[in-house]
């Protein structure tokens, strides 16, 4: 039994200790907004926040997370109105949408550290998140927009 703090709620899970956080979120807690894309921390579709840091949940064993604060896309805002989500809506970023939860979680973590990122900052922080639809120009525009909105 492992007790996790996910989106502000305590969750007791029975998964084996080596289970990556991603599968605990998806299969045990029903939080399917976080996606599987590669299982090797290569694509960023599974990005969540652990104590505010963007982390690839597909390679983090759940046993290492007792007492840490985990935030998923479902916990980012009550009404889909986080400034980054608002910017995403205004720019109409999504195509297939599958990578978008991870993209948004990475962007939120970036803006927390660098409220007004340059294009180079965006390249550095977001190049771990693949978008096969190549909505990259829109992602960049949305991050700048969110930064402006503060």
């Amino acid at each position: 039994m492992i007790t996790l703090l996910v989106n502000g709620e305590k969750q007791v899970v029975k998964a084996s200790p080596d289970t990556p956080l991603l599968w605990v979120l998806r299969d045990d807690l029903g939080l399917t907004g976080t996606k599987y894309g590669c299982g090797m921390a290569l694509c960023g579709a599974c990005t969540v926040h652990i104590d505010g840091e963007a982390v690839r949940s597909c390679v983090i064993p759940v046993s290492s997370l007792a007492g840490k604060k985990i935030t998923t896309i479902e916990g980012l805002s009550q009404n889909s109105d986080h400034p980054v989500q608002k910017a995403w809506a205004a720019v109409q970023v999504s195509q297939c949408g599958y990578c978008q939860s991870g993209q948004i979680m990475s962007a939120v973590a970036l803006l927390a550290k660098r409220p007004h990122p340059t294009d180079a900052d965006i390249d550095l922080a977001m190049s771990g998140n693949i978008c096969r639809c190549a909505s990259y120009s829109q992602i960049r525009a949305a991050i700048h927009r969110a930064a402006k909105a503060g």
């Binding site: 996606k35 809506a89 990578c99 639809c133 990259y136």
Partner: protein, 719 residues
Amino acid sequence: MKSGAALGAGLTLAFYFPSGLAKSVTAGAAPDTTPITAFEPNAFLRIAQDNSVTVIVKHLEMGQGTYTGLSTLIADELDADWSLIRVEGAPANGSLYNNLAWGPAQGTGQSTSIANSFEQMRKAGATARAMLVAAAAVQWQVPENEISVNKGVVQHLGSNRRASFGDLVVAASKQPIPAMVTLKEAKDFQLIGKNTERKDTLEKLNGTATYTADVQQPGLLTALVAHPPLFGAKVKAFDASKAKTIPGVVDVLQIPSGLAVLANGFWPAKLGRDALEIEWDESEANKLGSEEIMQQYREIANTPGLPVRIEGDCEQAMTDAAQKLSASFEFPYLAHAAMEPLGCTMALKSGTGELWNGEQFQTMTQLKVSNVLGVKFNQVKINMLYAGGSFGRRANPRADYQSEAAYIIKAIAGRVPIKLLWTREDDMRAGYYRPLNYHTLEAGLDDQGKLIAWRHRIVGQSILADTPLEPVLIQKGIDPMSVEGARDMPYHIPNIHLDLHTPKIGVPVLWWRSVGHTHTAFSIETFIDELAAAVKKDPVEFRQQLLADEPRLLNVLNLAAEKGRWGKPLAKGQGRGIAVHKSFNTYVAQVAEVTVTQNGQLKIDRVTCVVDCGMAINPGIIEEQMHGGIGFGLSAALRGAITLNKGKVEQSNFHDYAPLRINEMPQVSVHIVPSSKAPTGVGEPGVPPIAPAVCNAIFSATGKRIRSLPISQHDLRQT
């Protein structure tokens, strides 16, 4: 044989099906006898008493924006309030929801969604509007022509009466369906041509959009399948005893495609699969490597293929030519590698198989899955979900992953629903690749530098061969998908000879975003560039002269040159290249600007893209599809290759099959040609020109010709 009505001039394909299939597809649904709670004038929309308008979209939403596009067509004719439009994916029903470009088959592809639905959706909306107006006219005792509709409100100004759509649900349902409706003129469009907000935006930014892997059902078991290491290998013997000791593993089953592990969740299923001991029978398997296949193709290309396009006398013209050039081109296998790996959820209850899937080819899936399950065609139901990309992979005439799920559910007799998941490695190694191709091109020019002869030979596996579509789509041995873009090569040349070899190789192949155009556009557009250089002509000017009879291509070419700063000075190490190509009745020209450093580092700086897709339904989505096509095409051009070594796929995940990332995305500017012509597709046509435009730019920067892809295998260092 029942023929499919192909919409739009020049559409190359209409799908035909054996009459037995057509019959089973067209068996209608039972009449609805439930009390009226919604107004459902046809299969495409439903208006509820809460004023919501639900549009039933027959095409798969895989990112290309079809939920928004088709809804826009209905909503405009209906004069609906866009904010009250909801979208639902249509069930599998080929008689109601067939792709009109494909006859009786339901499916999404060939960039046909908007083109085949343009009139159908507008008529659906206009019919509903007419019935709402008729209902109001009866209620208010006023003439219909005095009633107006605006943003979901029906009103009669003279008597100051108004009603919402919801108010009229019951009355409109009792109106006869009009035999004829008048569609709006373009000047009256309210939504068409505007950047209406996508319908899938909110769900996709808060994590609630449901994809196949997100389906949850009581008692559901997750299935992972151990696939053979070689295409065509089979399980010979196995020992599952270790796998079965892993907590959470419920069962291990042998199915035709391998060994399925059923477990409570992904992780135990994966641990169980890792613990399997399997001996494979590789006697029938493909053991050829990519290089051996390519070498076979090079040899085959020395012999004449099946004639595809013969104009004039190429042989004689080549003899007469003052100058001749030839080149060969090599293209690797490519995986689709959508962000969402393949999978589907399936249940089997009382003889009905039910799928939850982002389904791209309903009719073929129903056919294959019903065969596997031994049930009737119409006893295969499909619940439509979003697809996390597809690029063609989710439309497979062999329904590979759906059949795999069907074999599993059949093996457990539908005891519980199962969710088949593929890992990234499964997805990348399962085949159904863009075929490996080899082209040779030869051109003859007269003493004025005029192109007088063109010989093009293509060697590559057929996509349609050995599928249920072969008997009706392959004509005289020619798979149209092998030669599209070359068969209709637009340059005016008096003597043309195009032929084709389609060798059989044991590697499964499939259409990959823009299909044949992915290789034909490259060889044609880089070879044309080579010819321009050989006669010392500007590449744009050289093309202009050959496109005098192709006004729409010429126009996008000229606009791209203008917007793409053609001829303007460049810094040392920079180059500019152009390519123009028509695919799926859409015309696209792109100018790429690249930088190649002294040590051979390549950067794509800027791409200017001009698209003529007829009337623009949603310019924002068109622009995004051009960006997407460019990014997708660049991934492949720069370093995309699936390679086989002794039959084994060498790539497995995004480290060795590495898509473009944000830091590599060029600045893209898109220009849409204003047009009042019927709309054509945009999902694929952005792809074909980018690789040749980039390679032509590399030539301009370095003088090096790239004739095999990906570019990463070439040394671009300046010596």
